[in-house]
Amino acid sequence: MSRLDGNMLAGRLVEVLGWDATTADARCAQCGTHGPIALALVYATSMGTVARCPHCDGVLAIFVEADDGRVWFGMPGITALEVTR
C-alpha cells in the first residue's frame, strides 16, 4: 500500500460532514501548520484510512469503516478547519 493525497478523502468527508472539505484550511494540532486537507498524506488500508500532516506526519483524522456498515470518524489532530461549504 502506498500513500494518497488528501483529495481522495472527498467522498468520506461528504459522507460525514455533508460537504467536500478537501479545500478547507485545517490546522495540525501537532505542529501548528495549516493548509487544505487535500494536501494531507493519506494511508488507506482495510483497517482504516489515516490522514497525516504533510509537514510533521502527525495524525490529522481517521476513518474506520466496519464490514457491517458502521463508520467511525475522528479528527484528533485538527484543531479547527475553515468551513467552506
Binding site: 500500500m1 494511508y43 488500508t45 483497517m47 481517521i62 474506520v64 464490514d67 467511525w72 484528533p76
Partner: protein
C-alpha cells in the same frame, strides 16, 4: 438504498473450520500501515518498560540475550484474514518481565512512529506474547514491523504492535490508536471482539 451489483461477488478466501468466526485463510502476508514506515537501526534501537516504580531498558543485544525461542502460531487480522502455523522467533515477555514489578494490570505498547495499542498484562504473560525479531524464518522487514514487533497472537493482530519501542503499565485499560477510533478494547478473535 444500495442495490446488489449484478455479477459482483467480492473477494472471498477459502473458509476453514480451524478459523475463528468471520475469518478466511490466506497464504500471503498483507501489509497494512497507518503511516510511513519507520527506519530504525538496531544500533540505536532500545526497548523500555516503564512502571509506577521506574523504568528498565534493554539494547538490541541485551534483549536478545534473554533468550530467543521459535514458535509456530496462527495470526488473525481483524480485516478477516488468518495465517495458520506461522513461524516466529523472539523473546518471551515472561523472560523480560522477570525484572519488572508493578501493581498495574494494563499495558500500553508504544512504537517507533507513534502508534499505540493497549493490552491487559494478563494477556501478555504466561506464554502469551513475545518481542519478535523474525517471521517465516527471516528477520522482520520494516514493512512488517521490523526490526522488532510485539507478538500477541491470541488477540487480533492489530495488538501485535509493529516497530515496538516499549511498554508502559497503566492502572486502567486506556485505549490505544485503533481502539480510540472504533476498534474493540480487548480484541479476542474467538469472541469476534472487532469493534466498540
Amino acid at each position: 438504498m444500495s442495490f446488489i451489483t449484478r455479477g459482483f461477488s467480492g473477494r472471498r478466501g477459502e473458509r476453514d473450520p480451524r478459523l475463528p468466526p468471520g475469518q478466511t485463510l490466506v497464504t500471503d502476508w498483507p501489509v497494512l500501515s497507518a503511516g510511513p514506515t519507520p527506519e530504525v537501526d538496531t544500533a540505536d534501537w532500545e526497548f523500555v518498560i516503564r512502571t509506577e516504580n521506574g523504568s528498565h531498558q534493554w539494547t538490541w543485544d541485551e534483549l536478545r540475550e534473554l533468550g530467543l525461542e521459535d514458535i509456530a502460531t496462527d495470526i488473525h487480522c481483524v480485516t478477516h484474514w488468518t495465517k495458520l502455523e506461522m513461524p516466529w522467533r523472539g523473546v518471551s515477555l515472561d523472560r523480560i518481565w522477570e525484572s519488572v514489578e508493578t501493581e498495574h494490570e494494563f499495558v500500553m505498547a508504544h512504537t517507533y512512529g507513534g502508534y499505540t495499542t493497549n493490552v491487559p498484562l494478563e494477556d501478555l504473560l504466561d506464554g502469551k506474547s513475545w518481542i519478535a525479531f523474525e517471521a517465516d524464518g527471516e528477520p522482520l522487514d520494516p514493512e512488517h514491523g521490523g526490526p522488532a514487533r510485539l507478538l500477541v497472537p491470541h488477540l487480533y493482530f492489530w495488538k501485535s504492535a509493529k516497530w515496538i519501542r516499549g511498554l508502559v503499565t497503566m492502572p486502567t485499560d486506556d485505549p490505544g490508536f485503533w481502539e480510540q477510533n472504533g476498534y474493540h478494547l480487548h480484541g479476542d478473535p474467538w469472541q469476534e471482539e472487532r469493534y466498540w
